[in-house]
Symmetry: C2
Subunit: 704 residues, 2 copies
């Protein structure tokens, strides 16, 4: 069936190229400075990774069979090793650099070459390798890491089971200690306990970090991680079995599969025992007494997966927007304002509405991700590694990963639609990127589950702060907060501030571009939502377990919405913080508009809430949308500079439609028409002959 699209939206208005300078009032972004800013805190590592990802041998080849594709990506992993790209996080004595932030920054950049390459290397070094590194001890590092780092031992990270996805604590695979032989027996008792969706499991994996319930002396000490050889060159080892997951919705360069174990024996020393050890006689010991805390500590060491997915998702959004906005700035469709030339599609208001707010969000997420990466590096380097830091890191990672991965899918879809039929061709990359990124929203924690964790953290902060508080305490706190800045890095913001300055919020939003007004509106919403839910849940302590669960469930959707509001606020603050570091005045001005577009986009999205809760009057609420329209028109002339500042070259974009061929086609068409007109051979339009006729017969009508 034919594609009658390619254009986004059909009518008038617009800025001609020659008008561009006029429209911008001479303001022009300093793309170089901004590009540098967008590289974040590890610019050298990103630049090095981008030099690598520009090389054709790392690029995805469309149309390969499943087997070929998996082999290609496996070969690319070896190339990464040869190019020293993947060892930055490992110990110095083993050839690593102990550079945690830089490692993730470089790793994320692989997404522009091929998300399969990114994720497969993530499986090998970020999950399998990181499990040995963080859950094992020195002896394990020396024994296992060299083979992992060199890819001599491709490995799997066997945590998820068919029966339990995000609920890792409930997995059913067992590791029972046999003191007689000093071995653990790894066993999969039921079909639901098969490990599933495991990268490297179907073909390449030789070993696996297997998560199982550790049982010794008749006691289940909860989930621990074991190093289990699974395959040699002849296939599965005795007792190990599995299946290929086959074709997936994306990431088909990775051999995901299922694994099961039938009384597979491994030496006691293969327990990765940093957080839990079993002596030869079967005695269990752990530096962390509480089983719950131990579990979360172990899983917490694997937070880098979420951190890196957040970063990779933001980069994929950047690539999508750079393709779509570049194309939209060259392509013309429909002539309304002029009979001679058609309109540039980015001049259509609807097209701006579709792409520019997403550009603003991608900027916010870029800056927010850098803050997350700095926090991650602080914890993992040990520079800032308190319990609070770790908890903040986890909350921040969960909040940002959820929003940025969903956003990437939205961006890539809108970008593909905005490029019409051309956007649907694999050669223009948008559909493949979207298909590959799809699973980012559920792996490393389903976004809805992660956001619920964020929501619970916010409720916890609320509870801590207002434990046994009466109304007077609340009011005093509110007044104190009203004059202070936001308190907590990633936890609940200056709670109840609005009790005090609700009046001023309503007034100050009059100056819509006022930074403080935006902050107050966004902060206020998170606080109020959490406070309301907390109030409703107060009764839970007096209820039975089932009743309390039902009460919580009635508030589940709203709690997740509150968590989203919190994550949006964090992004807004990161954007605002970044503004203060930009020196070029024109760049700062344009980025401030972009930040405002993001901030007021959030307010518009949640406008009903602001109206219902009396934070905005109806009239003010309408001006939010009007202001957004104004910002779109202001930002339009800077759109190409803003995507260029992401810093990707054609070697990274690799989309013919963003390469300039559209401009060439437009110019060829314009020249053809001009020649035809000049030749005097141009056919006359039937309408033109008609209007002469009409003019004679219906003089009034023809004037229209």
């Amino acid at each position: 069936m034919v594609d009658t699209s390619l254009s986004p939206a059909a009518v008038e208005g617009g800025i001609l190229d020659e008008d561009r300078d006029h429209v911008t009032d001479g303001i022009r972004i300093d793309v170089e400075e901004l590009s540098e800013k967008m590289l974040g805190s590890w610019p050298e590592q990103r630049r090095a990774a981008r030099r690598l990802t520009a090389r054709p041998e790392f690029h995805r080849i469309e149309g390969q069979s499943l087997e070929e594709y998996r082999d290609t990506v496996f070969g690319q992993l070896k190339l990464l090793v040869e190019n020293g790209q993947v060892h930055r996080a490992f110990p110095k004595q083993l050839g690593g650099m102990e550079d945690h932030g830089g490692n993730i920054a470089g790793f994320e950049e692989l997404v522009t070459a091929d998300p399969s390459l990114q994720i497969k290397s993530g499986v090998q070094w970020g999950l399998f390798g990181a499990a040995v590194l963080h859950l094992g001890t020195r002896e394990h590092h020396e024994r296992f890491l060299p083979g992992i780092m060199s890819l001599e031992t491709p490995g799997a990270f066997a945590m998820t089971e068919i029966g339990h996805g995000s609920d890792v604590a409930s997995i059913a695979t067992t590791a029972t200690y046999d003191a007689e032989t000093e071995e653990f027996v790894i066993h999969t008792p039921i079909r639901a306990a098969w490990k599933d969706y495991i990268g490297n499991a179907a073909v390449h994996g030789k070993a696996a970090a297997v998560f199982a319930q550790l049982i010794t002396n008749g006691v289940n000490h909860g989930v621990h991680c074991f190093y289990v050889p699974i395959r040699d060159d002849d296939g599965f080892l005795p007792g190990v079995g599995g299946e290929d997951d086959g074709i997936k919705g994306g990431l088909n360069g990775i051999d995901n599969g299922r694994l099961h174990f039938t009384n597979v024996r491994i030496p006691r020393s293969n327990l990765l025992n940093r957080y839990g050890n079993v002596d030869a006689d079967g005695t269990y010991s752990s530096p962390i007494a509480s089983p719950g805390r131990r579990f979360f500590t172990m899983l917490g060491t694997l937070v880098q997966g979420r951190v890196s997915l957040d970063g990779a998702a933001v980069l994929a959004s950047a690539v999508g927007l750079q393709i779509a906005i570049t194309y939209a700035s060259q392509r013309r469709q429909f002539n309304a304002a002029s009979d001679v030339q058609e309109e540039v599609i980015l001049d259509y208001q609807r097209h701006q509405r579709r792409l520019l707010p997403k550009l603003a969000t991608t900027y916010a997420q870029t800056f927010a991700h850098d803050e997350l990466l700095v926090k991650f590096d602080g914890v993992f380097s040990g520079k800032r590694d308190t319990d609070d830091d770790r908890q903040d890191l986890e909350t921040l990672a969960a909040a940002l990963k959820s929003l940025s991965t969903w956003h990437a899918l939205d961006v890539l879809q809108e970008a593909r639609e905005a490029c019409g039929g051309a956007g649907f061709l694999a050669e223009n990359r948008l559909t493949s990127l979207r298909a590959d990124l799809d699973v980012y929203v559920t792996f490393e924690g389903d976004n809805n589950v992660l956001l619920q964790l964020v929501g619970k953290r916010l409720l916890g902060d609320y509870g801590k702060r207002f434990k046994d508080a009466d109304a007077t305490t609340l009011a005093r706190f509110a007044a104190e907060q009203a004059r202070g800045k936001v308190v907590n890095g990633t936890g609940l913001r200056s709670l109840a501030q609005t009790v005090a300055d609700f009046g001023s919020t309503a007034r100050s939003v009059g100056r819509l571009q006022d930074e403080q007004a935006q902050r107050e509106l966004l902060t206020d919403r998170v606080e109020s939502m959490i406070g309301t839910i907390a109030g409703r849940l107060r009764a839970a302590s007096k209820l039975s377990k089932a009743e309390a669960a039902a009460l919580f469930n009635q508030n589940q959707n709203e709690l997740i919405e509150a968590a989203i509001a919190h994550a949006e606020l964090l992004q807004w603050e990161a954007f605002t913080e970044a503004l203060s570091t930009i020196s070029d005045p024109a760049t700062k001005k344009v980025l401030t508009w972009l930040r405002d577009l993001f901030g007021f986009g959030l307010v518009e999205k949640h406008l009903a809430w602001y109206l219902i809760h009396g934070r905005l009057s109806g009239q003010r609420a309408q001006s939010v949308t009007a202001y957004i329209d104004r910002l779109l028109a202001r930002l339009r002339p800077h759109a190409v500079d803003l995507v260029d500042a992401f810093g990707y070259t054609q070697a990274h974009l690799r989309a013919p439609i963003a390469s300039g061929i559209e401009t060439e086609r437009q110019e060829e068409a314009a020249a053809y028409l001009a020649d035809l007109r000049a030749s005097g051979n141009a056919p006359v339009d039937e309408k033109a002959t008609k209007s002469t006729f009409d003019a004679l017969n219906h003089p009034k009508k023809s004037r229209k």
Copy 2:
């Protein structure tokens, strides 16, 4: 990287299976009656098509190479011919049945076998064949249709050009008449005029319906359609060239490609001349004097493409929901309410929020589509074929196709996420369906462009009704409308009704379940938005073309939003109309809740508008969300019945996760745990040993 998801949302609440009857208060949908209803006005044709699509030889085979896949689908097209599935719309004297509605109903059903099969057969018979049928005359029918119907002549529909997607009127391919040889010369003067995204163009097409500017005697008479042979068994014919579009984001069973023509000569008689003819001497004549009207009439005959995409999109949504809701009703994750058994994930409020409103929308779209199909059949059978009918049909098709194709993408994505990692496996069909449906939102008219057409129609209706109206006229009209029913099939609704009964709207919404209140809220919004935009555009008549275009552009986004509001209202009315035809009281009750969920979902989505414009108070607005939450809980026990009523069997769903294996796994796991407990060999939980310890040392804490 591992998928730690599979679950949607993590905590408590819920309905146990055994409680189901209690919770439903004994009400149970009559699935059989409802299924029949859902089949719409051509149930026999749908049933016949479903018998066919249940057969394995029509099913998509995942993992084929591009070439194999294209061959498979081409072979399936031959099977369709053999099974008499595709000739219903053709003339009786040529072996057809002249059954237009039934033809489309059956055609749509192919989507569950494979969207590539649907669209490739749409290219052959719905576009290429329909162009000959509707734009050609008897001589063309006899000469070309037999080969088209039998698939002896696979053909392409060569309308879209690289340089002009949705703007068909501006295509640049020319067909210049040469009176000396009585031939048309088909020519592609520039790269931008290459036909692109053309199904059957890359490999299988032997001929094409080529759209080109008809030029004779120095006058361009606008776009006409020509029958052009393009290929024999040895490849392209002289002067014809092309390229393969290669891999696409979906629909890879179809060989889309590009075509170009270098002075290709075809006989005069190959002009499909129903709406425009050229005599031997080059004299042009047409039964439609106005070139603009002629163009829209010709394109209007091809509306069935949009009609069928609407229907196919709704069926794809149904399949996605049946898979996700079936799985969600079996899968369990996290135990909060009970220590013994985990929660069924569809009992989580968030999971209900994610799926059930989409189910309500899919029902509304099912009923709306049937109305569209009836209208289509009326026009194409000649039973109801006035100019107004045709215009209504086009507006309705544009409005419904836009919303249902976007909805299908949303549904399939949400369904895939709701099924977690399992949803990402190709075997569970959600990702492939989504990839294939992606292009439905831009082909046969980009959704944004189509919605703008709808918006312009609404503005036109407004203009006609209030031409030269003064305030008194408006008020009188409003008062008249207030007591009447909605006026126009698909055009603008009882405009300005709210001027009169705004007060009563605000009051009547108190009874949230009141049908009339929902209708008024939805109608009011469309009318007010269009009225506002019309008011702003009034100045345009006094402006220059460029200024008028700029003014329109400033309102473009809002106009498209108004068109969406209009389409939503049409869907709501179709759902409401369908309710009145259901006889079983329990079914009617449950479906009324579902309709309310749809209606109040729309009100909630646009809540800010209702608040800003004083249609709802803040308090009432809050109760909208509360009421939706109540409806979700009420509908939950009926969710499986509601998806079963779509009427698809496992042969249509073909998703292992929806086959019952999840229940088997749950039962195996429960039996294993029960056996383990009974054996006395179950390991003790470390927490249990700890809490004894804690109870001794911290008696207060341990009670929590």
